[in-house]
Every structure is written in structure tokens, then in C-alpha cells.
Point group: D2
Chain length 244, copies 4
């Protein structure tokens, strides 16, 4: 198979990840990573049936062997291919508990899924993004998904906040190191409830008071299209009625 | 003349303001405000000759009478019209001096041009933006242009930083008050040198190391198009090689 | 009268300013500035009757002539004197109103009292602080009092937040310019209700849930005693039960 | 042995940790934790020979078993004792490398030593701090030592910044959860080179241009003495000539 310019999205379920995959699939073959096929099968089928190209690979981002295996499969399937976009969007690590009830595993789960996961993903994605500079219409782009907890350590959120702060630190460091090398590194702060099936019963009930996964995906695409003269690093997204 | 849905841009010279005017003129009649016709004549002519609609009004944003007069003229020329977008982008107030050489006028100039200017502008723009909700394709949008000095008070920049911090405070307060009313209020942080004739000799000489006014304008347009489920408040923009 | 090493406190009423004056009067003759004698008479008498030295001067910090007159009086009363500490602590500018009900005067009042006031005060205090390096036991210190609104622009707080953000910008710029010259510039964030007669009826009623003016004054004194190897710039102070 | 009110300091070597131990030993028996006796023997002897009480326990904070064992030893040696202060100050995790040369172990080392270490330490310290409320002169205090990297992810500092951001998140979350329970949780940002034997050759050579460990210790003691009406959460400390 000829070498291609791909997009890889880690963390694809029924919500934002799937919308991002759909959006980037309009321009690139997409590879979607999630723990299990149940998470990515539907969006892979949907993209493929709409004439796009999509591949799902079962991956545990917190495990470097699993991430290495996923990227080895990508390179085997698409020899010589490069990346135009890599999106790190896994959930996980979210737990709300009084601190003294938090177990070591609770606390580690956040750091492993978010911080080490992002480390593992970026280690393999960045060499392919650097190679993507020549063939990519837009500067190759690495986006990390943050949350309210990326900038505020709320009570009983020690695990999730530690993980999301760490992820933001990594994002900043990579933006400052790889920006000058032509890779656009961004971090988003998703501040509110995302409108997906799982959150149906949550929130105030006010119309449009949840974040739209499609609109989030559009914002990721917008970040991807920015020229290197004018890179945004951080974008905070919230519904119009959100208190902040 | 029939009522229209307009965009108003305050602070239009040869740089970002003109690019923003051009971008929004693709969708709306635009009104551009600047101290003198020399600042806006060129872009008004350019937009008009390309089939767009543009009007320039000489305005000193730091003077509430001048701002009121400008909006009165807008309402006279376009009776019953509403706003889809209002952009506050004046330069001014930038001065670098050892603090003990800074005059009271130097210090006031920043606050007057940026903070009071933004107050004057927002006082008149917001009622028209609130009315713009019905007829506007996208949520009515109020964007304020910030700078590096919006988040860092560097030595010898007391005047400019005080002004830009104050402007950011105003932006935040308005975003939190008018977001729930359906107006999208945003603040951008322009962190770097903008590539305009006046800055030709500045910077490192590295290719693409200055911000593109057109790309900044595209980002303002992108903010404008966001649905109310997914508003961004703050966007930091810098060239890929910028140290930050 | 022989030259002395003084402390000047701007913004002295029944609360924090008086406590700061009392605390610094243990070490220095203090000069207290407030709009009217009613604000400073009590604390001047109290300090004097306890064997300390205190002088009050009616001053409107937002008016540079008034500030210049105050410092001229200080220099006349204490010829050749220098400053060991200068504290900028005026209230004023606080107003909570829907933005469209805010008058231009409301908005200017904040900026004038806080930002321009701090400018006026720092212009006269800094030369005397720089001279204070030789005779002062501790590095000469310039402290600005901030608030929650220094870092958050809440809805309906446009005036106060703009003023307090601007004050913080000024503080940062001065810290970076005058720190290397040996003057310790600090900014505090007072995040909560201060326990003074005027706030008796405010708050939750929970014991100790308001900030103690004496404890705030102790923290200012602590900042003053730091050696130049180890300057703190910013200190956020809040009651143990405060939500933040 | 009668129950006592203790201070525990984790991370004691020749620098800040030892100074903190000395300072708190003026008021409390201190327990110092470090990986090996070489790190704590000198300060334990010094405190003891000066009439104070100090115990060292070899502890690897990144290992919950080791931390549990240390606190078990404390409870065995001082049955029924409580904590008045707990300081988390371990170094470790600092590594500067191009991101693509960073190993998984490099990256984990930071998170394990700082974030998980702080988790392990706080899990055991907080119950004893909560019990310390009755017998402690000052509100029981938990302080975490941060760094420049706590708020800025610099290039090639992905590991250290991720760790220090995570530690800050944990600190914030604990401050918000345990402040209302009467425990004072603080975070310091040590922004500069600390003046210890190991850093002799570092820096600009300018007099007093490094942070004094004793002055840092004084600031920790100051935080400890604050009443619950007026808790500081965050304190940034830097030499007067430091660029920031």
C-alpha cells in the first residue's frame, strides 16, 4: 500500500473521540485507538461506509507495549506513512472521592491513563508528525484533551486533577520543544458536560447547555488548519450557560 | 435602508484590524472605527470595490462621546440594525520605559485606550449584540484583542500591562455575564510580532516567525462561528518559533 | 528633625490599613494616608499613645497632586528620610452592577482609585525605597493589596476586576524592575471577607470564617522581613472555610 | 513514651529539608524521612546535640509500603502522637532531556517521586494532622514544595513539569478539602537556584542570587503559624535578581 498521510486518534468511544475521527476522516485515513473494539467498531464502520478510510486498533495507552504494538501495526499496514494529526483524547482516571478513601490504585489510574498514556502516545506520534511536515497540507498537529481539572484541583478530585495537570504540563513542554520544529501542539480545556448518550440525565436541562462533540471536533480541526505563523496553544471550550 | 445585521470593528489600521474587517465583510456589512480616515479609508475602499459593504467612522474609543456619536451614526445609517459581531482591537497605550520615567499621561494613555475604550465600546455594542440573536446565523460575538502583556507584567511595561490586564478582566466579566444571555464574548492573546509593514525590520528574520494578520482574522471568524454549546473564551496565538 | 526610616501606608480605615499601621509602627515611624482625618485619626492617636510615632495626611491617591503634596509634607516633616516600607491598601472602586447599568464614572472610579492611585503612590515611594536600602534592617518593601477580583473577572464586577487586574499588572512589572535593584515588591490576594465592624453582619456566621486584619498585617510584616535571597511576590490569603 | 505533637519532614538532604527540620525542631520533635541515612544522619545529630529531638527513618516516598512502614515506626515510637506539621519536600524526578530521548523510566520517575510520593505521604499524614488540631498551638499544617516547573512546562522538562504540576493539583485539592476541616495545606513555588553545596558553581555569581534554605524554612514556619482565619495557600519564592 502506498505511503499515506494519516490521522491517529487515541480515545474513541461514543463521544468526542468519534466526532474527531469523523471530522478528520474527511481529509485523512484515520486510525482510532481504544481499549476494546466495542469502543471503535461503530465509528470505523460508519466512516468506511461513508467512503472514508478508518482502522481501529485495540490499545491500552497506559501500557507502552500496547502503544508500541499499535504504532507498529500502523507502520506495517501503511509502510512509510506519516502523520498529519495525532489526537490524545482518552477518558479514564476520573474518580471523585474523599481523599482518605482514595486508594493508591485510584490515584495511579489517573496518572497512568492520562500522563503516562500521553507520554507513550507522544513518543510514537511525534517522529511521524515530524516526518509529516513535507506531505501535510496543514502543519502536523498534536492535540491533547484537557478538562476543568486541568487548571483547578477541586476537593475530592485529587486523582483526576493530578492527572490532568500533568497532561497539561506535558502539552506545554512539547509545544515549546516541537513548535519550533514545525509541529503544532495544542491543549484544550473542555469545561462542562459533553452531550453524549451517557450524560443524557446529567445537567440542568437548559437547552444547549452541554458541549457538542461535533463542535469540539470542529475546534480540533480548526486548530489543525492554523498556519505555523499563528499557532494557538490553548483553547477553553464551555457551554454558554456554564458557570466558571 | 432596511435593517441589517452588521459587524463593527474598532481599531483598524494597516494590520489585524483591516484583515478582520475583510474577513467579516464576506458575511456582513462592516463598520470600521479608527481615529482618522487615513487608518480606515484603504480598507473601506478595498472592501467596497470587491463588492462588499463597508463604512468608516472616525472615532476615539477612549472618549465616550466619540463612541456614542459613532454608534449614533451607525443607527442612523442602518435604522433598526443589529450586530452579529463586535471586535475591539485598538492599539495604543504601548510604551516601554523605566517606571520612574513614565509620566502620568503615559500611564493613563494605556488605561484610557484599552480599558475605558473597551468599556465605552462594549456599552454600546452589547445592546445591539443582544438584539442580534434572532437574525444572526452565528451567536453574536464580542471579541477583545489582548497581548502577551495581558497575562505578564514585564519590567518597564507597567502602562501597557495594566491596560491589557484590565481589558482581560473586563472580557472575563462580560463573558460570564453575557454568555448565559447568548452573546459569545472572547479574548485573544496575541503573543508575538504581527507581520505588517511597520514591523518589517523587527524580529529574527526566520521565515514565518511573525503572526499573520489574515490568520488572526481567520481565528476571530472561527470564534464567531462556534455554536453556543461550545464557546471558547480565550485563545493564545503565537508564531511557531516564539519563545514563551 | 533627624532623618528617619519610615513606613508609609496608603488606605487606612478601621480595617486592614489600621492593623498594618499598628504592626509597622512597632518598628518605624508610620505615615498613614487616607481621604479624611476620620479615617486615620483613631489609629494615629492609638499608636502615639502607645509610644509609637504616627502621622496622618489627608490624601486622595487617585489625584497625583494630592499624592505629591502628601509626599512633600513627609519630606518636609522628615527631611532626608527614607522609606523601609510602603503599603498600598486603599479600598474603593468596588461596585457590583449589571454591566449595562454601570456608568462611565463607576468604571473610572475603580481604575482611578486602584491603578492610577497605585501609579501615583509608587512614583513617589520608589525613590525613597531605593534610598532606604542602606539604612533599612530589612530590604525596603512595596506591597500592594489585591483581592479575589485580581485574578477573576466575575459577572457584574467589571469595574472592580479591571481595577484589580491592572493593579496586579503594575505590581508584577515593578517587582521585575525593582527587585534586581533591591526593593521587594509584593502583591497579596485577599480572598474573603475581612472581619471589621462594617462586615459584622456578612458571611456565614461560622466561627473564624472571616480574615483577621491583624493576621493580614502579620503577613505583610513577614513579607517585609524576607531577605533578598528569598523574596515572595504573591501571597493569597483566605479563611479556612472559604470556597475557592 | 508520652504522646507528642510532632513534625514530619519528607525529603531531607543537605539543603532545604535540613533547614526545615532545624526550624521546626525548635518547636517540635521532628521525624525526617529520606532514602538513606547519609541524607538525614547529619541533621539528626545536629538537632539532637543542640538539645532538640529528631529521628530519621529511611523511606522511599514513591513506595507506599515504605511510607506505611515509616509511619508505623513513628506510631510505635510515639504512641498516640499527632502531627502539627507535615512537609513534603523530596527532590527527584528532575531530568532535562529532549523529549524523544526521554525513557519511560525517566518520565515515571518524576511522577512516582513527586505525585505518588505526595499521595502516599498525605494519606498517612492527614489523619495525624486532623488529630493534631486539639494539641497544636498553630493549625496543623501540610506543605508541599513546588518549583518553577509547577506552573510552567518548559522545553525538555516534560518529566519534571508533569510531576510538579501533578503535585500542585494534589495540593490544591487537599487545601480545598482539608482547609474547612482545620488543616492548613500550602504549596510553595521555589523559583531559582537554592544555595547549597551542590549548587556552589551554578548561577551568575551575583551576591545573594541564590535562595537561602534557612529563609525558605522561615517561610514554611511562617505559613505554619498563620491562624485559620487567614491561611495562605501559595507562596512563590525567588532571589531578588531572578528573571521570571
Amino acid at each position: 500500500m502506498a505511503s499515506k498521510t494519516l490521522a491517529v486518534i487515541a480515545g474513541v468511544g461514543p463521544g468526542t473521540g468519534a466526532s474527531i475521527a469523523r471530522r478528520f476522516a474527511k481529509a485523512y485515513p484515520v486510525v482510532v485507538l481504544a481499549r476494546t473494539p466495542e469502543s471503535y467498531d461503530a465509528v470505523v464502520k460508519e466512516i468506511t461506509s461513508n467512503g472514508g478510510e478508518a482502522v481501529g486498533i485495540s490499545t491500552d495507552v497506559s501500557d507502552s507495549n500496547s502503544v508500541n504494538s499499535a504504532f507498529d501495526q500502523i507502520e506495517k499496514k501503511y509502510p512509510g506513512s506519516v502523520l498529519s494529526a495525532a489526537i490524545f483524547n482518552p477518558g479514564g482516571g476520573f474518580v471523585k472521592k474523599p481523599f482518605l478513601e482514595l486508594t493508591e490504585d485510584d490515584f495511579s489510574a489517573g496518572l497512568n491513563g492520562q500522563a503516562k498514556g500521553a507520554f507513550n502516545f507522544a513518543q510514537r506520534a511525534l517522529p511521524l508528525l515530524l516526518k509529516g511536515k513535507e506531505s501535510s497540507t496543514h502543519p502536523p498537529t498534536l492535540i491533547f484533551t484537557g478538562a476543568t481539572a486541568s487548571i483547578k484541583g477541586s476537593p475530592q478530585f485529587a486523582s483526576f486533577a493530578a492527572a490532568k495537570f500533568a497532561l497539561r504540563a506535558l502539552s506545554q513542554s512539547l509545544a515549546r520543544e516541537f513548535g519550533p520544529q514545525g509541529v503544532h501542539v495544542s491543549h484544550t480545556i473542555i469545561d462542562g458536560i459533553i452531550d453524549i448518550p451517557r450524560t443524557k440525565a446529567w445537567g440542568s436541562g437548559v437547552e444547549d447547555s452541554k458541549l457538542s462533540p461535533e463542535a469540539i471536533a470542529d475546534s480540533y480541526w480548526y486548530l489543525h488548519t492554523q498556519p505555523r505563523t499563528t499557532f494557538a496553544f490553548e483553547l477553553d471550550l464551555r457551554p454558554y450557560v456554564e458557570k466558571w
